[in-house]
Amino acid sequence: MLTERQSECIKLALPKGKLLPATACLLNEIGLKFDNYSQETRIYRLQATESPNISGKIFQEKDIPIQVAIGNYDFGICGLDWIEELLTKYPASSLVKLADLEYGKGSVYLAASLYGGLTQEELLNKQTRWRIVSEYPNIAETLALNLRLRRFNILPLWGAAEAYPPENAELAVLWAKSEAELKDKGLTALRALLPANAYLIANKESWQSKNMSQVMSYFRQGLEAYNKPWQQVKIRMPKSYSSYRPEPNGNKIWLAVPDGHQQEPTLEFLTKAGLNLPGYSAETLDRRPSINLDWVNVKVIRPQDMPLQVANGNFDLAITGKDWLLNHLYRFPTSPATELAELGFGGVRIVAVVTQELPAAGINDLREMVQSGKLSPLRVATEYTDIADKYLHDNHIRKYKIIPTWGASEALLPEDADLLIENTQTGKTLAKHRLKIIDNLFQSTACLIGNRDSIQSGHKNERITFMVDLFRRTAMSS
C-alpha cells in the first residue's frame, strides 16, 4: 500500500558526460527510467517515466556533490573522485556515501611524465619546488601535505592535466581507467590515490528525515542483480595522446592552442596563417602536435587554463578567449598575462541572465529585490567566478553567493540559482530554457595572449614578435 509519506517528492542529480550512457542504462534496467536522459538531450529537467514523484536534473559530474550537499537534491550519481574532492576540503559536508555503483571504473592517480625519470624515492626525498597540476586541487593539496613535500605549488586545472608534465609540472593528479591508459598519455603512475567508480550519494538531511526507500530499493535491486549490463557500457572519452619530443635547448617558444569548442575555428585560423599542425586536426588529438615552424613547440590544453599558464611562464603565447583572460586578471590584478592580438573568431557575449518569470528588466531591479529581502542572498551560478564577483561589486549587490559551475549553468535556473553570468552566441539556447538576458557585460572573442615580462626581456623576443605580427595580419585579412 502506498502511503502519503512514501510518495514524497524525490529529486535526483544525474551526470552528463562520460558517466551518462552507463547511468542511463542502469536506470532503465532497474525500472527507474527517465525520458530524455540521453547524450543527445537538450532538456535538463527530467521526470521518472513511471513514478510521478521522482524527478531528476542533469549536471556536470563535478557539480553534483555540491548540489546534493547543499540540499537541492536528495540523491546524486557521480564519480567518487568528485565526492572526495569536496569531502577532503569540507569534511563536514552534508553528504552520505551510499553505494559503489561498480561502473565508470577508474582511479585517481599521482603521475609523472614517462620521460622525466622521476622515482618514488625522489618523490619522498628530493628537495625541490613541486608543481602539481590537477582538476582536483583539494585532493592534490592534501596529498602534498601528507607526503611532507616542503615546497609545492598546486595549479588547479579545468582539464588536460596529462599535457603538462614534465615541462610545465613535475606531478599531475588525474583520473584514468588504468595505469595502462596513463602510459598511453605519456605518464607513469607513482601512486593510485583512490578508486573512483560511479557512486550513489544522498543528502544527509534527506537521508535522516525523508522516506526515500522507494528509490533505494530500485538501486538495491540493480546492485544485487546477476546481470549488470551497465557495466558493459563503454566510457566514450575524447581520445588523445601525446607525442613527446625532448627539448634539449630552451630556445623554442611555447604556444598553447585550445581543445573543445574553440578547436575547429582555431585550426581554421592557423591554417589561414600558413601554419600546419597535423596532430591538431587528426581525429585522435595529439596533445603535442608538430608544427611547420621548427622553433615553436605546441601543446593543446583547455582555454580556461591558459591565462594562468602564460602568467607562470609555462607558455609564451596562447590562443584563448578574452572572457578567460579577464576572469584571470580580475582574480590576479598584477598578473603579467596580457592580450596581444584580437583574432576575430569565437565571438560571444557575456551576459547576466534570469528566468523569464522573474519581474526584473535589469540589474537595478535585481538589486532592489536583493535589498528588500525578496532574493537574499542572491544565488549566482557561473563559470566566471571572478567576472561575476566584480560585476556584482560594481553594481552594489550587497548580499550574494557564488555557485561555481563547470558548464551547463543554465540548468540551475530557477530552482538552484537566481542569476547566471554566462556566455551566449545568439541567445537562442537561453530563450529555449525560458531564460532572459537582463544585462550585457562585454563582448568576448578569441585572442592571442602572452606574458608581458617575457616579451620585454629575453632572447625569445624576436620570435614572439614574428608570431604576433603573423596572427595580427591573419586576423586583419579575414
Binding site: 608543481r131 601535505l145 616542503r150 590576479f332
Partner: protein
Amino acid sequence: MENLKCKGARDMLPQDTACFRYIEDAFRRSCLAWGYQEVRTPTLEYLNLFTSAGTLTPKMLSRVYSFLDWDGWSGERVALRPDGTIPVARLYVENLIQEKTAKLFYVTNVFAFEETGKESREKWQGGVELLGSSKSIADVELILLALEILRSLGIEDFELQLSHAGLLKSLLAELELSTEENRDLLTQILDGNWQHLTQIQTNSPDVNRVLSLLLNFRGKTSGFLENLKTLPKLSPALKREIDNFAEVSSLLDATGCNYRIDVTSVRSFEYYTGLCFAFSLNKEKIVSGGRYDNLIPIIGNGDTPACGFALYIDSLIDLVQPQQQHAADKGVAITIESTTPSATRSVFQLAASLRKAGYVTELVISDSKPKWRWSVTVRDKPPTFSITDQTQNQKLDAASIDDVVSVILGDPA
C-alpha cells in the same frame, strides 16, 4: 536575528579585553624584566614556511587557513599564521642570525580551523623564544619564566609536566621502521594516539622494555631518569637523550621546582627535538613549550639551537581575576547642564586637570548609573560647578576648576 559574525570567530567584550590586557601586561612585564625583547610578525606568511617536515604536523596543516594572494598566479599560497614560533624563527633567520643569541617575545593571534565553530578559530598566545643556545640552563630559564608569569597572575595550583621529544624520536628510530611506517606512527603519536606506540610489535625486547617503562610510569624527580639510564643495553643515541632529559630535570630539582615526568603529556611536537614542558590547570593546558634545535636549520640552513614556550591567553581569560585597573573613587563623572561655549570649555578644562591628577574623567552623555564616586555638574552661570560625593551623599558647590580639583584631591578617603 541572523548571525553577522563569522562562524568560529570571537568578540572580546570590554570585560574580556580588560582581562586580556591584564594577562598581556603581566606577561610583558616579566619578559622585559628577564631581558627579552618584543617583536611582531605579519599575519600572512607563505604556506611553504609551515609545510616542511619538522614544522607542522599534517593534521595541523589540514586546518590552516590558506589561499592565493592577489598575485598568487604561480600557485604559491599564503596562510594566516597558524603558529607563533615558526614566523619568529623566520624573522630571526632573516634579520638577527648574526647576533647568535636572541631572546624574543611576542603577543600574537594564531589561526586554525575547527569544525564545530564552537571553539574560536582565532586564538591568542604570548610567546617566548630563546634562540641560539643549546644549554640546558636555557630550558630551565624558560620554565622558571613561565612559572613567574603564572604566579604573577595569581595562579598557583597548576601542574608542570615534562617530556622529551628527542627521547621519543630516537625510540622511534630504534623500532627500525620503514620511512613510511615511521612517518605514519609519528603522525599518530603527534595527534596524541599513544596506544599506536604500545601496539607496535618490535623484535627487540630491550626497546620494548624501555617503551613500557617510559609509557607506563610517571617520574617525580630526576631520579626516575637516572634509574632509566642504568638499564642495560641502551643504544648510545637513546642514552644521550635520556642524559639530556636527566640534566634538565636535575637543574629543575636544584631550583626547587616541582614537576611530573610524563612522556605522553605532549602532542603536536613535530618541531620539538628535546625537552618539552606543559603547565596545566584543571586539565587545561595553559603553557606549553620545548626545545626545537632543527627548526632554524630547516628554515634557513643556519645551525641555531633554540627553545621557547607559548602562554595560552584564551584559556587564561576564563581562569584569572584581573585587579580593577581604576578604583571607583579615582573616577569623576562630568555632566554638562546646557551645551554653551563657556560650559563646554569648562568641562574639558576640568576633565584635563583631573586626568592630570590621576583621575578617570567620563563625560556623561546620557542618563546612566554612575559608576564613579564623584560627579560634577557644569553650568553656564554661578555656581558654575556642583560636586557630588556618592559615597558620603554630600553635595558642594565650587566656583573654579582649581576649587573642584582641590575638593576632590583634598579628600583622599
